[in-house]
Symmetry: D2
Subunit: 185 residues, 4 copies
């Protein structure tokens, strides 16, 4: 049995710590879980009802398809201005339509995040959880991954080298397998 | 004495109720307050640190200039997925840089919102307030404008016809004048 | 098979609308679900680590026992000052200890709320959900019960007479049965 | 000119770090600011509308008087279960009545917090700010005091010995003087 997970980084920059964290998750995923990163967040245009009424732009359609075909979502996000990065929220806004039957609906999910400062993306994660109440997206509660002072845990090649964090990511993904299983019908 | 206010709608669609609400504010503004709408939110690209490092794209520069030259900001926003529209948050993410000296810093602001459903944009407004703690943007506390079941209060031309709401917007803007005055140095 | 649910009202006053809502839930519960109201929230003293170190006061012990013996929790709460009533939060603070092995841990839950004003307890419910991330309490996402302008839906005896709301409470409790089932191990 | 500030600790336990933080603020207060600690939070009964209707219990009346006679409030709070301690919220719920003319209304305030863990009371502070939107209590935005891993910064007698934190508290209180001044009419 295999679990397909779509990994969604909340930051666009090349050297993003959250992209590194997602790569670490790919490396540390338990047997049977395959995580694929969605790399086109930057191609998704600003959400506009009038545009949507004419049909999803191609990158939006690709995003929706990637979510639909996955068993679960794994988001790795920074925090901007004590909230969700607009870039990530905008993609979620597209994916949430139509609201009565969206690809986010009843999809299991987990959220990770790391930040250079002290907060560890706490607020961004809570705001995402709040959005996912509306979309009925089943976000795992515990354990949480919210890493402050992130620069220290990756090496120059962007590889997660901190052993404590590696173990924590492993346990997080093992718990995620169980969580996803709860929502199989 | 004149107060220049930049009005920022959080929605891109042509027939947006929040754009109508902003037009009502323009009409009802007290003597001495001039509200100008920023109309280019849809031109602002997804925030990317790597892009910013090379200099603000032109629409971002225009947005920053409009905020810098205004005495205060007036945001009229819908709520998407129990949060701030990604489109609006993305523009704020750009405007917030550089974080130690941004155009949002120490700028007085007020937030309005209306929604077709019951919530009246309550959650989007609180999330914006949270972002504005980080940017030290002085958002007026009371009164609040958070209008549910919005369709009933505008006529077919998008004019605010509900008299109770018109009086409330007037009082809101009069309180805003006093609020802005508190932060004059 | 029978599901025992502990009902927890967030308000102490005799004529509380949320107590009425809980009584409606008791009346409308699906076959096999038995809801019992915890009536001693007002006996729970202000949380104090020093007191707890000497052992739980009797009303706290009774609260913990009631939660432990139930299969799930059903909270009906008002909103005070855009947040969770201190009374309810204080009881949760007691119940959450010890934090590594509390009665709240891995307990399924659902939240309802009604308010005289427009908000419908939206903010109180989100704040509770945030607390329940920490305690790993599995709160149902959808449907939600958040009722504004509540006075109209009850009769003089406090009976829920609004038929639309009665149907909504029924559907809510049927979904709750399924939700609770997901967390049976 | 003298500024009277009422200090409100959010924790009841004797050895509370937040009580220590408040004592440090008393020691480090700028000339002209006098901070007095309110010590009776534990005497305030669970909020109950029916009780309030008969008149404020004596400790509630004392709390309201202390706030009314102060020029500003300084709260030092821990975070319980990702939220405001119920004890503190309960006191605020009492103080907020009657809602159209409460002692919290138009009162300047500042919030500090420290925690043994990583979060530094971030979430408790945001939840308090949200309540204070309703009560129109003017909470200072920046700087913030949210201290993680708090045990290291106090000595065995509970004195704040960490020099960086001492300087930060000083700057915080100096900014608070200016903030309070903005709301003098």
């Amino acid at each position: 049995m295999s679990i397909r997970v779509i990994g969604i980084p909340g930051s666009l920059r090349e050297g993003s710590f959250n992209k590194m964290l997602l790569r670490a998750a790919i490396e540390l995923a338990p047997t049977g879980m395959e995580i694929t990163t969605f790399k086109r967040l930057g191609d998704i245009a600003p959400y506009n009802d009038d545009v949507m009424a004419k049909g999803d732009p191609e990158p939006v359609a690709a995003f929706k398809t990637a979510i639909r075909e996955a068993d679960a979502m794994l988001i790795a996000t920074p925090e901007y201005n004590y909230g969700v990065p607009g870039v990530l929220k905008n993609a979620i806004d597209w994916a949430s339509r139509p609201s009565n039957n969206s690809v986010l609906n009843r999809k299991p999910a987990a959220i990770m995040g790391c930040s250079p400062g002290l907060g560890g993306t706490i607020r961004a994660q809570h705001a995402l959880r709040q959005s996912f109440v509306f979309t009925e997206t089943y976000v795992m509660l515990q354990p949480e991954i919210k890493i402050p002072s992130v620069a220290k845990i990756f090496d120059a090649e962007g590889r997660l080298t901190d052993e404590t964090t590696r173990q924590h990511v492993k346990k997080f993904l093992e718990a995620f397998v169980i969580w996803i299983g709860r929502f199989k019908d």
